[in-house]
Structure formats: structure tokens, C-alpha cells
């Protein structure tokens, strides 16, 4: 689940534009719709695409594999992080 650091977030809304599930909404600050935010593996690079599904969680946000959330990598101030549900 993506979590917003409310002290770092400036509310620029870039994350909202990149979320494939429309799970983010920017209105002064960013809010996450927890019903929509899940299982999103918007990896920029595809070389890990054959990794088994049960292994992908462990690869999340690991820079070496590039499996990470689009919202995170597009945040200009690093205000988003992934937390275990």
C-alpha cells in the first residue's frame, strides 16, 4: 500500500497523473484511495516480468530490479513510500 508522508508532500499532484488505477487524488495534499491502491507493479523496465507473482512483493522498490510504483518514482520530493498492509 502506498503511503503519503504528509510533511514532505507538497500537493503537486504528479503522482495522481501516473497512477494506473486512479487511486491518488490531489486536492492541496495527496490522498490515497486504499480500495484502489494495491498490486500495482508499474515497472518501467520489464526484465523482471517473468518473476513469479509471489516473488514480486519482495522485489518492490528494489532499485536493481526496477519493479516499483509509478507514483513513487514520479514524486519530485520523495513523499511516497510503500508499506506492508
Amino acid at each position: 500500500m502506498v503511503v503519503v508522508d504528509e510533511e514532505r508532500c507538497v500537493g503537486c499532484g504528479r503522482c495522481m497523473a501516473f497512477c494506473p488505477r486512479e487511486a491518488l487524488w490531489a486536492w492541496g495534499r495527496v490522498r490515497v484511495d486504499t480500495r484502489k491502491c494495491s498490486e500495482c507493479f508499474g515497472g518501467v523496465y520489464q526484465f523482471e516480468q517473468n518473476a513469479p507473482l509471489q516473488n514480486r512483493e519482495s522485489l518492490l522498490d528494489t532499485v536493481a530490479t526496477s519493479w516499483t510504483r509509478l507514483c513513487l518514482i514520479n514524486c519530485p520530493v520523495g513523499a511516497l513510500r510503500v508499506e506492508e498492509e
Binding site: R8, V10, G11, C12, G13, R14, M16, A17, F18, A26, W27, G28, R29, V44, Y45, V63, A64, S66, I73, N74, P76, V77
Partner: protein, 439 residues
């Protein structure tokens, strides 16, 4: 750790960084831009949301002037469609801003008094031609010596807030006069990029790559390497590796505070750190995107409000560039500036006032407008990294380490041209000191 060698490394692909990078590449320097985010452009870029191409910060572009000159010089395509009409709303009337005599016409409409208009115009002329007013007072304070007419003050407040992101009582008086003098030196024709501002930045990137320059995205700078008070390169984290990149010159478009963080504050003298702490005043802004089936502005596609509580500028980019929206849809972008550009901000209240201004000034906003997004800019990602007149120099105390962008802009410049100007100034200094290929 892998290693690479370049003449110049530029941290950040905003317009300031890309200006410096493209010019240096054009001059034969082996240049690398490292950008943390997946796409280039920073606050002069585009995101696509529900079929609309939305600006990530700056919207309108000067169709002639420093930006066009840069693109022409480096051989990059520059497609900007001019606005149909820029107006100032004064006393409920939308007054067109003419290219010649426009300011006088606005002031006459506002004051309804030839004598007041003449007095203000004469003071401005004297400031531009004889001696600039002091920066020790604000422009509003200086102007109020010539007119206390609130509508006249409102014209300048709308103008300053729209172009500079701060209020007339925050802008040093001399800075306004310097800006006015520079702006009047060429036709101020503004427009929009039909494919969005990201396309303009990608055009610059394409020209740079065609001449041997490189741009790495998803590449975060972790450190600026400094030895004996000289910049030696950077350490970056890519998707795969941490890499050390050696270079003769490092140019940072990440903002002076980030530059200090990356290079280590212990490498900067106390005077510079004190100057940075006391000078930099980030300007904040709220940008609201509203969509509709019909254009919401009636008489103009760019409108500066002079009597609203917060909103200063409203633009409908889809009038010139329908490609920015799905077929049949229209986009309106409105900007507002807080009353005081100092934290803490109450953005919930600022947004409420912004919406109230829209309801009061755009008759069909309530019935036909759908709000697509509300974006705030402040802090680390501000509308402008510092107010006009509160800039730092491009050079840092560390030899061969420069800053570019809107915290180190030359006096009298604002917005995109200011960042381009800062890039040019750095390029000229680099050329005077280092030849290409000395890496």
C-alpha cells in the same frame, strides 16, 4: 563502482539545466544530464491525466525572446502557438493588453484619470531611463507615492503575481522597473505548446542527443564529489548500479539547497551558507485545472485578474491548442498566490478562496466546470525557487560547481526566460575557463 568521464555533468533537466546542457553540447563539450525522475522538464513539463495534457508548473511560453533564441541556436524545433488575446479584467471589463501603449491603456481604464495615468507612466519612465527606485522598499510602496487608486494598484498586483508569483508588496521596487525595461525591449508574445511543454523539452533533448549529448533519466544524484574545494564529478544511482562520473564542471539545476546537501555543507564557506539561508524565499502557488464542454472564458484565452482576492491569472490553453484535451473538451488553468509567501500556509483556505474567485469571475464555472485537479507548489517544489531580487549567484564557493535555474536568475528576469538566462551565463563562464575535451 563503475566510472565515466565527461566535460560537464548537469544535475536536473529543468529548463535551466537543459539550457546549459544543450548550449554546452552545441559548443562541443561532452555533456551528460542526470535526471532523477522518469521524464525530463521538471516544472516545465507535462503529465497526461484523463486525456488532458496538464502542465507540471509553467504553462505559457514566450513565443519570441530568450527561449526561442536558445532553441534556434542549438537547432531544436520550437512549436509555440500564440495566444489569441491577453486581457486584464478591470472593474468587470476585459481590457486587451496591447503590444504598444498597452500599459497606459490599462492604467487609464483603471484610474479613469489622465493625470494619474500620466503621473504613474512618467514615474515608470523615469525609473527605467534615469534611476531605478531602491530595492529597500516594495514596488507597491513605491507606486503608492504616485497613486493610491486601488484599481491602479490592482493592475500591477495582477501583473506581478501572474509573471513573478509574488505580491506587489513583496517585490523590490527596483526589480520591477528592471523587469519592465527588459520586457519592453522585445514583443511580449506568449503562447502554448500544442503537444505540451514536455514536447518542447524533448525537442531540446533531441537536439542535444543529435550533437552527442546524453540524458539519463531515473538517475538520482547521490553526491557531488569535491576535492580541495574543486568539483570533480558526481555519484549517481541508476536502476542497476551506483556510478561515479568524473567531470571538469558540475552544473546543478536542483536548487542551491540541494546542491549544498549533495556537495556537503562542510565544503561551503559560512558566508555563502548564511547568504543562502537569508536570501532564498520560495514562492508558492495553487494551480487548478477545470474542464468543460465549452470554453469558460468569454473574451480572452488568457486573463489577468486585478481585483480578485487570490486568483491572479486564468488561461485556456485549449483555445490555441485543442490537442491538449480530448476532442470537444476544454481546459482552463487558474493560478493563485497566497497573501504572504511565507510558511506556514493554510492551503485548504487558499484553495477555498481560489474557488470563490473562480465562481465570482467566471459566470459558468459553477454550472459547467468540472475540477480535474488541484495542485500546490511550495517548499521543495515551489512555483519559483526564490522571489525576484533574492537570488544567489550562479557560481558557488566550490570551483567549477555552478547553480542554474530560478534561484540564481539575473536581476529583472522571471519565469522560464530567467532560467534560460542563468544557463547562458554559466555557459559563458565555462567557455571562458575550460576548453572542450579537457576531461
Amino acid at each position: 563502482m563503475k566510472q565515466e568521464v565527461y566535460d560537464v555533468v548537469v544535475i536536473g533537466s529543468g529548463i535551466g539545466g537543459m539550457s546549459a546542457a544543450s548550449l554546452l553540447t552545441h559548443e562541443g563539450y561532452r555533456t551528460l544530464v542526470v535526471e532523477r525522475l522518469p521524464q525530463i522538464g521538471g516544472r516545465f513539463s507535462t503529465v497526461e491525466y484523463k486525456g488532458f495534457k496538464l502542465p507540471t508548473g509553467a504553462l505559457e511560453v514566450e513565443a519570441m525572446g530568450l527561449i526561442a533564441e536558445l532553441y534556434s541556436e542549438v537547432g531544436a524545433g520550437f512549436e509555440v502557438r500564440p495566444l489569441a488575446k491577453l486581457c486584464y479584467r478591470i472593474g468587470g471589463e476585459d481590457v486587451p493588453m496591447l503590444y504598444k501603449g498597452g500599459l497606459r491603456a490599462l492604467l487609464l481604464t483603471a484610474s479613469e484619470d489622465e493625470e494619474v495615468t500620466g503621473r504613474v507612466m512618467a514615474a515608470l519612465k523615469r525609473g527605467m531611463g534615469w534611476e531605478e527606485p531602491s530595492n529597500s522598499i516594495s514596488f507597491r510602496e513605491w507606486l503608492s507615492e504616485y497613486s493610491s487608486n486601488e484599481k491602479v494598484l490592482g493592475v500591477f498586483q495582477g501583473m506581478i503575481a501572474s509573471f513573478m508569483g509574488i505580491n506587489a508588496y513583496e517585490l523590490p521596487a527596483g526589480e520591477f522597473i528592471r523587469w519592465l525595461k527588459i520586457t519592453r525591449s522585445y514583443p511580449a508574445i506568449y503562447g502554448h505548446a500544442p503537444k505540451g511543454n514536455l514536447a518542447l523539452m524533448e525537442s531540446l533533448a533531441k537536439a542535444m542527443r543529435a550533437q552527442g549529448g546524453e540524458i539519463w533519466t531515473r538517475c538520482e544524484t547521490k553526491q557531488i564529489l569535491v576535492t580541495d574545494e574543486v568539483a570533480r564529478g558526481v555519484v549517481v544511482q541508476t536502476d542497476k548500479d551506483e556510478m561515479e562520473i568524473a567531470s571538469r564542471v558540475v552544473i546543478s539545476n536542483a536548487g542551491p539547497q540541494k546542491t549544498v546537501e549533495l556537495a556537503g555543507s562542510e565544503n561551503f564557506d559560512k558566508g555563502y551558507l548564511k547568504q543562502m539561508k537569508e536570501s532564498l524565499r520560495p514562492a508558492s502557488s495553487i494551480m487548478i485545472h477545470t474542464v468543460s464542454d465549452r470554453p469558460l472564458l468569454e473574451h480572452a484565452d488568457s486573463l489577468i485578474l486585478t481585483e480578485a482576492r487570490r486568483v491572479n491569472w486564468i488561461a485556456c490553453p485549449t483555445e490555441a491548442c485543442p490537442e491538449l484535451a480530448p476532442p470537444g473538451k476544454h481546459l482552463m488553468v487558474s493560478y493563485s498566490t497566497p497573501a504572504f509567501n511565507f510558511p506556514p500556509y493554510d492551503f485548504a483556505q487558499e484553495i477555498a478562496w481560489h474557488l470563490q474567485d473562480l465562481k465570482e469571475n467566471i459566470p459558468r464555472f459553477g454550472s459547467e466546470g468540472d475540477i480535474l485537479a488541484v495542485n500546490c507548489f511550495h517548499g521543495e517544489w515551489p512555483a519559483f525557487r526564490t522571489w525576484l531580487g533574492y537570488d544567489l549567484p550562479q557560481k558557488t564557493p566550490i570551483e567549477n560547481l555552478y547553480n542554474v535555474g530560478d534561484a540564481v536568475k539575473p536581476s529583472g528576469r522571471t519565469g522560464l526566460p530567467a532560467s534560460v538566462a542563468s544557463g547562458r551565463m554559466v555557459v559563458e563562464d565555462v567557455k571562458s575557463r575550460i576548453k572542450p575535451g579537457e576531461a
